[in-house]
């Protein structure tokens, strides 16, 4: 079988499938160990209950559903909450070293939307620890690793997915893989927007590949804009500033010095949120009787509050707001050392890229496109898509997060569902017969991939098309959405599609970034269209999706997910699928944790 993507989910899937005795090919778009998982900072959410014994899978489940505004796939949220602790302990058995409690167990930290301290972490470089652990474990498991390889199309036999076709970056040579099962673990779509925390790889490859062969995508309107990205200097705009800063006591202030997050606490979080700064501080320092500060409300809400401050003229010097951790020197004797120890890579990042010492000065931050809740529609237990033989896990799959993801739930999602995808894909591969590749599909894909060279340099510059698309999505389908603007965006996306058909490059196929950019455009355009169409269709505001023309939640939309799928005529079709009825025992869990 074949795993496409070698971040947390792909590596975990490959390890599991290999353990099941299946021959596994693992495709990395970059070098092994460089995937976007490496950027994750805060931690892995798992109800280990090491720091607060009141925590359990039930509370984690209820927190995840509340964060997702109840349009999550409840079964995925249940499996995730139940299995995450085992996945974390397993990482430790493979060599990961997490920070410790005083009695030597895995330490857990506070994070937005989590009722109790829940995130297993290593300073603020948890993603690096996780990917390196999986990588170093994986290389001894007989995986067939293909680095710097990009898949441009999935291959099918009837409706079954039986392989993938793409190019290796080094020489530009094409290669087709035959596989009895394929797992997509390609991550996110951040590059569809101008300001993003994602690397060049986040072009929605899995979303686009699955869509092209007829799989369904759901929840594409739900894009997470992380409230705190760097905003100055311009070249670092979008780079993530971990929520861990707020978990350690960092506060948000506007230009008037006001902690504006206290001004707008949503009703369904009021009982869990501190109503004064003192209580909030005590919470961050582990006082179990204190409630969390409003800075640790869910990301969608914090991002919108920041946008409001900026729009109403109370922004920081460079058009963001202030995030201050230096203030804790009023509370702690060795505050600068404490900050450097708890947030080493944030210290390093601001020092070197912005010339700011976060132990003495406030940071300037603003929202950045971070994560997509939407993705390939999968079966909760097996992670199989709507097409036989095609599985998806991690960010490119949808369901667990609903309308908004809680920080820390991504790394645990990668582990829990990466493992499940590997397990069930291996099982599928064992149970289903051999497959045959269709040469015509390969020929078509080859000539399409080579077309940019035939058009040459006189044609459209692919970088320019990408930049224009990013500008459109940023300005018209961003944090605050309006019907008329999105209709305009749709028209522009249609225009970019035509321009993409005319993108051209010159030179040779060896490591040719312009060519790669031209080929990535297709996925970016599919994702952009799916986000825009779904966002137009959801005429309400919920989680990461905020409509200025429909600023409130609308109950009918709380009962369904929006599906996008390729119609027989090639156009993108939008439909609704009702949420599955939640079993009464899970409803009870939610009620108990209200």
């Amino acid at each position: 079988m074949l795993v496409i993507g070698a971040g947390g989910a792909g590596l975990r899937a490959a390890i599991e499938a290999s353990a099941a005795g299946v021959k596994v090919g693992l495709i990395c778009k970059s070098l092994l160990g460089k995937a976007h998982t490496v950027m994750a900072e805060g931690g892995i959410a798992a109800a280990l209950a090491n720091v607060d014994e009141r925590d359990s899978w039930k509370v984690h489940f209820a927190d995840t559903m509340r964060g997702g505004q109840y349009v999550n796939n409840w079964r995925m949220a249940e499996l995730h909450a139940k299995e995450a602790p085992d996945r974390v302990r397993e990482l430790e058995a493979w060599g990961a070293l997490f920070d410790r409690t005083s009695d030597g167990r895995i330490l857990q930290r506070n994070f937005g939307g989590h009722k109790y301290p829940r995130l297993a972490h290593v300073g603020d470089r948890t993603g690096l620890e996780m990917i390196r652990t999986l990588q170093d474990h994986g290389i001894h498991r007989g995986l067939d690793v293909h680095m710097e390889f990009t898949v441009v199309t999935l291959l099918t036999e009837g409706s079954r997915v039986v392989g993938a076709f793409g190019y290796e970056r080094e020489r530009g040579r094409f290669k087709a893989f035959k596989a009895k099962a394929v797992v997509l673990a390609t991550g996110g779509i951040g590059r569809a927007f101008r300001i993003t925390s994602n690397s060049w790889e986040g072009t929605g490859d899995g979303h686009g590949l699955a869509y092209e062969v007829g799989a369904e995508l759901i929840d594409m309107e739900f894009v997470q804009f992380h409230p705190t990205g760097m905003i100055w200097p311009p070249s670092v705009q979008g780079i993530l500033v971990t929520e861990g800063v707020r978990g350690e006591g960092g506060v948000l202030r506007n230009s008037e010095g006001r902690r504006f997050m206290f001004d707008d606490i949503p009703e369904n979080y009021r009982s869990q949120t501190a109503d004064n700064p003192e209580e909030g501080w005590r919470y961050t320092q582990g006082d179990k009787n204190a409630r969390r500060p409003p800075e640790l409300l869910t990301r969608d809400h914090v991002a919108r509050c920041i946008v409001r401050e900026i729009k109403e003229g109370r922004g920081s010097k460079h058009g963001g707001v202030y995030l201050d951790i230096a203030w804790i020197k009023e509370k702690l004797p060795n505050a600068p050392d404490h900050i450097r120890r708890k947030l080493p890579s944030m210290y390093h990042q601001f020092k070197e890229l912005a010339g700011i010492d976060i132990t003495t000065e406030a940071m300037e931050v603003g929202p950045t496109t971070h994560y997509v809740m939407g993705g390939v529609r999968v079966d909760a237990d097996t992670q199989m898509s709507t097409l036989p033989g095609l599985f998806a896990a991690g960010e490119c799959a949808a369901g667990i997060n609903g309308a908004n993801r809680l920080g820390g739930n991504s790394l645990s999602d990668l582990l829990v569902f990466g493992k499940r995808a590997g397990e069930y894909a291996a099982d599928f591969a064992k149970k289903n017969g051999t497959v045959k590749l269709d040469e015509r599909q390969i020929e078509t894909a080859t000539s399409r991939a080579l077309a940019p060279f035939e058009r040459g340099a006189a044609a459209e510059n692919p970088f320019k098309i990408q930049q224009d698309l990013q500008g459109t999505m940023q300005d018209l389908v961003g944090i605050v959405r309006m019907e008329n603007e999105m209709v305009q965006a749709l028209a522009r996306v249609a225009e970019y599609k035509k321009r993409a058909e005319n993108a051209g490059v010159t030179g040779h196929r060896e490591y040719h970034t312009g060519w790669h950019t031209a080929l990535d455009l297709r996925n970016l355009l599919i994702v952009s269209e799916a986000i825009t169409l779904s966002a137009i269709d959801r005429k309400e505001s919920r989680g990461g999706h905020f409509r200025q023309d429909y600023p409130d939640k609308a109950a009918p939309f709380g009962t369904l997910n929006i599906v996008t799928k390729k119609a027989p005529d090639g156009s993108m079709q939008v439909s609704h699928v009702p949420l599955q009825e939640m079993p009464s025992e899970l409803k009870q869990v939610i009620d108990e944790n209200k």
Partner: protein, 246 residues
């Protein structure tokens, strides 16, 4: 807006030369931004490897004005822009194209190092008890982002090309991280001496100087490993004990 000139290596496995590109620059830019701007506006086929753009993934290693650095963490306001800024690929590895080198040797080396092997769990539920102090001791080594700049400057690899006999600072550091892991029970000392060439390192500290993560590779990782190897194989007392035992 001002501009600056970048003298970038353009080439493939066989040939190559520097080519000058002048591009506009603005406040806070890093070398990688300039390379990207050149790529988008003037040289679509310019090959450069990058991912996170925040010093966390270790992909964009290069030699900037002769200094091994991450392009994403090298601010233009730290460089003299009155002269063209040279940007070259890492020279200790074979060139693929332009700024991209073939670093696959590093991945093969890692596979040859004995993997992590934990002691039996401490608690009946299958978990371990580790103190924060034990974690802190190896945390420094685990910060490594595998940019391979330490390998690039190590003269044993760069000048003497002893790739088949010496694993280089990155993997001495990796070995140290495993050897000093509080749970690990594997013994890698014999391999370090016989197969991985720890004796070649003559502690010139070049690796430590270029590490973008500021890991004290030489003092904290390599020297303690060397001491362990010496204690194990060259200590006269234990040598005597070994004779008696056999």
């Amino acid at each position: 807006m001002t501009s600056a000139t970048f003298r970038i290596w353009r080439g493939n496995r066989e040939t190559g030369r520097f080519q000058d590109y002048t591009t506009p620059i603005s406040e806070g830019m890093v070398v990688l931004d300039a390379v990207h701007r050149i790529q988008a506006d003037q040289a679509n086929d310019l090959a450069v490897r990058w991912n996170c753009k925040a010093g966390k993934c270790g992909s964009c290693s290069a030699e900037i004005n002769g200094n091994p650095k991450l392009m994403c963490m090298t601010r233009l306001d730290t460089i003299d822009l009155s002269q063209p800024v040279t940007v070259e690929p890492m020279r200790a590895f074979p060139l693929i194209k332009d700024l991209v080198t073939d670093v696959s040797w590093n991945f093969r080396v890692k596979e040859g190092i004995k993997p992590f092997k934990p002691r039996k769990p401490d608690a009946p539920d299958g978990t371990w008890r580790i103190s924060q102090r034990e974690v802190d001791r190896v945390q420094e080594f685990r910060k490594c982002i595998e940019c391979f700049l330490c390998q690039d400057v190590c003269h044993i690899l760069r000048d003497h090309h002893l790739h088949s006999e010496f694993i280089g600072p990155r993997f001495l550091l990796y070995s140290a991280a495993l050897e000093m892991h509080p749970l690990d029970t594997e013994d890698r000392l014999k391999d370090l001496k016989d197969k991985n060439g720890i004796g070649y390192c003559n502690i010139t500290r070049c690796c430590t100087k270029v590490c973008p993560e500021h890991i004290t590779i030489t003092e904290n990782a390599i020297i303690p490993l060397k001491e362990r190897v010496v204690d194990e194989f060259y200590d006269p007392l234990s040598k005597l004990l070994r004779v008696f035992r056999s």
